[in-house]
C-alpha cells in the first residue's frame, strides 16, 4: 500500500506502520501523510504482513504495535534488525507499559511512542528518531540505570565477559540518565551539560544500543551457563 505525499523534501523520511487497530492506523497514516518531510512507505495489520513487508525496500522508521492478532511485534523488531539494518524501530505503546518498552529496547527498538500523543508530538518523535535520536522517560531511565547496575556487577563476576566499552555506560551517558530521572527535559539537560539538544538525544540512542548488546551478552552468558551454547 503505497501512499502519495507531497515530495517537498529532497530526502523524505520513509515511515512504515504495523498496527492492527484500524482507527489508530488510519490516524497515524493521516499524520504521516500530512507531514511534508515524510512518506508512508507501507502499512501492515498483522505480524505476517509485517514480516512480508520486511522483504521489500527498507523504510527509515518503522512504527510497530506489540499486540498483534497473530503474534508479538517483538518478532518484527528482531527481524528488522537483520532485514532492514538501517531502519529505526519505534514501538507504539499505551501508557504504563514500561515492561514491554524495556523488552523492545533490548530487542533493538530505538524508541517508543505513546499512542495518545498529539500529532505534533508524533511527527516530532519520528523526526528525532530518523535523525539518530531517541526519546526517554524518567521511569525508563531509571530502569535502564538499574539494568546496567545489575549487568555491571554480573559482568564483573563472569570472567568470560570482559567489561568493554560496548556494554558499560560512560560517565556522560550515566549523567544524562540521572538528569532524566530527576525530571529534566532533554533541552534542559543539553544546557546543563553544555551539549546540543541533538547530542543528548543521540546519547539516549547509544544507551539503547548498549542495552541491546548487554541483553544479548547476558543471554549468551546465561546460555553458556545453562550449557545451551558452545560458543
Amino acid at each position: 500500500m503505497q501512499a502519495q505525499s507531497p515530495d517537498s523534501e529532497p530526502f523524505p523520511i520513509h515511515v512504515a506502520v504495523v498496527e492492527d487497530d484500524r482507527d489508530t492506523r488510519d490516524a497515524l497514516c493521516k499524520i504521516i501523510q500530512a507531514a511534508p518531510d515524510m512518506r508512508l512507505a507501507g502499512t501492515a495489520c498483522t505480524l505476517a504482513e509485517g514480516m512480508a513487508m520486511l522483504s521489500g525496500p527498507p523504510a527509515d522508521v518503522l512504527l510497530v504495535d506489540l499486540g498483534l492478532p497473530d503474534g508479538s511485534g517483538i518478532d518484527i523488531i528482531r527481524a528488522t534488525a537483520t532485514q532492514w539494518p538501517s531502519c529505526s524501530v519505534m514501538v507504539s505503546t499505551n501508557f504504563g507499559d514500561e515492561t514491554h518498552v524495556m523488552r523492545s529496547l533490548e530487542m533493538g527498538a530505538a524508541g517508543y511512542l505513546l499512542k495518545d500523543s498529539s500529532p505534533a508530538k508524533i511527527i516530532d518523535e519520528i523526526r528525532i528518531l530518523a535523525s539518530g535520536g531517541s526519546p526517554i522517560s524518567p521511569i525508563i531511565a531509571r530502569q535502564v540505570l538499574m539494568r546496567f547496575r545489575q549487568s555491571g556487577t554480573e559482568a564483573a563476576s563472569a570472567p568470560a565477559q570482559p567489561a568493554d566499552q560496548s556494554t558499560l555506560l560512560s560517565a556522560r551517558e550515566r549523567e544524562v540518565l540521572d538528569y532524566i530521572t530527576k525530571g529534566f527535559t532533554t533541552n534542559e539537560i543539553a544546557k546543563l551539560m553544555a551539549l546540543s539538544h541533538f547530542t543528548v538525544r543521540s546519547f539516549v540512542r547509544r544507551i539503547y544500543g548498549k542495552l541491546k548488546v548487554t541483553s544479548k551478552a547476558e543471554a549468551i552468558f546465561e546460555a553458556k551457563a545453562l550449557g545451551l551454547s558452545r560458543d
Binding site: 501508557f95 495518545d116 531509571r142 530527576k182
Partner: protein, 650 residues
Amino acid sequence: MKTRSARLFPHILSYAALIFPVAMLIVVAAWRLGEGGLDPASTSMHLANADWQVTLQAGMQAPPSSVDSKTLPNTWKSTTLPRAFSPAVASGTGRQGATGRKQEVSTTWIRLSAERTSLPSGPLALYSPRIKTDGTIAIYVDGKLTHQEQQQGPLWNSLFTPLWMGLGEGANGTPPQEILICVQHPAASWVGMSSLWLGNAASLQRTYDMRLWLQRELPAMLSAAFLAVGVFALFVWFKRRHETSYLLFFNVAATSFVAHMHYYVGMPIANDWFAWLTINSLLWLVAALHFFLCHLHGRPLKWLTRALILALLVIGVVTLPLLPDTSSFAWAIYAIILLTAGSVVVVGAVNAWNRTSEGRVLVVGLGLCALVGVPDWFLHNNIMSTEGWFTGAYTNAITFGMFTLLMFHRYVNAIADVERTNASLARRLQEREAELARSHKLLLDAELRQTISDERQRLMLDMHDGLGSSLISAIRSVERGNIDDAKMSQILKDCLDDLKLTIDSMEPVEADLLLLLATLRFRLEPRLEGTGIVLLWNVRELPALAWLDPSNALHILRIVQESIANILRHAHASEIRVSTKLEEYGVQVVMEDNGRGFDVDKALDSSAGRGLHNQRRRALAVKGRVSWKSGPTGTCFSLWLPLDSDAAVN
C-alpha cells in the same frame, strides 16, 4: 554391568568377612581335635580290671619310694573300674575302732596288671579321667614310685583334672607290668576310681587334652566371659541407675563366677573360708537368679524370697568355718541348694511364663542349669560312675548363652526401635513442615487478599474523587448536548492524565521523591505545550523517603497535579517554578507562579475551595502539610513532607 558389580562388591566383601573367620575357627578346632592322629583304641590298653584292698594306719605317711605289692596283705579283691569304694566297704575289712575314728587313716590300694606285650613302642603314658579322694595319691610302676598327686591333701580342682603320667621310653623296651595306686585318706571318706589307659603318649595325650579342655578349660573360658559380660552390665548400670536388671545381671555373673571358681583353682582345700564361699555362693547364685526372675515377671513372691533368704542365712551360718565341721552333711546342703534352685525355677516358670518371653528363656535356662547340677550331686555322692562328666561346670555356659540371647534380642530390638523412632520422627517432622507450609501459605494468601483489598479501596477512593466524577459529569454534559468537541476532548484528556498518574503511582520509585515528580512532569508536559507557560525545573537532590509507597505516592501526585491544574485554570501565569528543599525534619516541594494570585482564606471557605481541601486532606494522610502564600505577583504553594513518617507533624 558396572553398577551391578559395584552393587555386588559389598556383598562379596561381607560374605568374605563372614566366611573367613568361621573357616579360621573350624581349622583351629580341627587342629585341636586332629592332634595325635592315632586311634587310642589300637595304640593303648584299657585297664578296667583291678585288685584292691584297704589297710588302716595311724596317720598320714609319706609314701615309700618303692612298694612291692607282694609285701602287702594278701587280701586282694578283684573289681571292675570305675568304682566308688565306700567307707563302709573300706572299713569293713579292717579293724573298726569306735573311738578316734577321725584320726584313722585308710590306705586304699588298687593294683592293675599290664601283663601284655601288645603295647606300641615309643613314649608311653598312663591316663585316667579321675581319681576322687580326700587324700594323697601315689602311683607305683613295677614297684617304683613314679608319680604323686595331692601331696598336701585334696585340691579344689582335682575332680575336674584328669590324671596324666608320662612313663618315658617304655623302660628300655620292657613295658610296665604292674601299676599300683596308693590312696591315703580319712577312713570315713569315699574313694572313687575311674578306669585307666596305658599306651602311646601321643595318642593318649589327645584324649587327655580333650577331657581337660572340655572339663576344665572351656567352662573356665565361658565363666570368665560371663563375668566380663557381667562387668559390662555393671558399667551400663552405672550410667543407667534406674535399670536394676543390669545390676542384677552383674550379681548373677559375679556369684556364678565365684560359685564355679573351685573348678579351676588348683590350691589345696585348706582354706576353710574358700570352702564356705564355694558352698554359699551357689546359694547366692540361686538367690540372684530369683531376684532377676522377680524383676522380669514383676511379682515380689514374698514368701519364696523370705524362704530363700532364710535358707541362705541358715546355711551361711551353719557352714561358717568357726563352727564344727559340717563336711559330713555337705551332701544335704547341696541337696537343699538343688531343691531351692528347683523351686525357684518352678515358681519363676509359673509366674514368668505368660508374662515375658525373656522370662521364659530364663526359666528354660535355669531349668537346664538345675538339671545339669543333678549329675554333679550324684557324682559327688558316689551314686554315679566316677568316670562320668561334671556337667555342673556348664551351668555357666548355659547362663551365659541364655543371657547373651537376651542381650542379643534387646540389642537388636533397641536398634530396630531407634530406627523406627527415627523414621517416625522424620515422618512427623515432614508432617509438621507440611503443616507449617500450609499455614504459611494461608497466611500469605490472607496477606495478599488484604493487600488487594487495600489497593482496591485506595483506587476506589481516588477514582471516586477524580476520574469517576469527571467521567460522570462528561456523560451528563454529552447527554444534555451542551458540550462542544474541544471541551469534551479536554475532559477526556484530563481523565487520561488522572489514569496515567494512578498507574504511575504503582511504579516502584524506591523512595525517590524526585523520580515521582519527574514522572509527573513527564505526564503533564503535553498539557503545558501550547499554553505558553514556561516550567522552570529547579529541583535539588533529596534523601530517600522510606514511607513513599504507592498509596502515599498517589497522594503526592494528586496534590501537585491539583496545584498545576489550578495555575493553568485560574492564575494566568507565564511561568511556573518547581523547586525542592531539604529541611531538618522534612523536605519541601515549592511551586511558584507569577500569576494573579487569589485570596486563600476566602477560597478555603467557599465551595470552590474543594480542591484545596482535598490537597490538605491528602497532605495529612502522608503526615505532611500544605500551605499557600498568594499575592498580586503570584502564588507560592508549598508541600512539606516528613523525612521519617513517625516524625510528628508540627
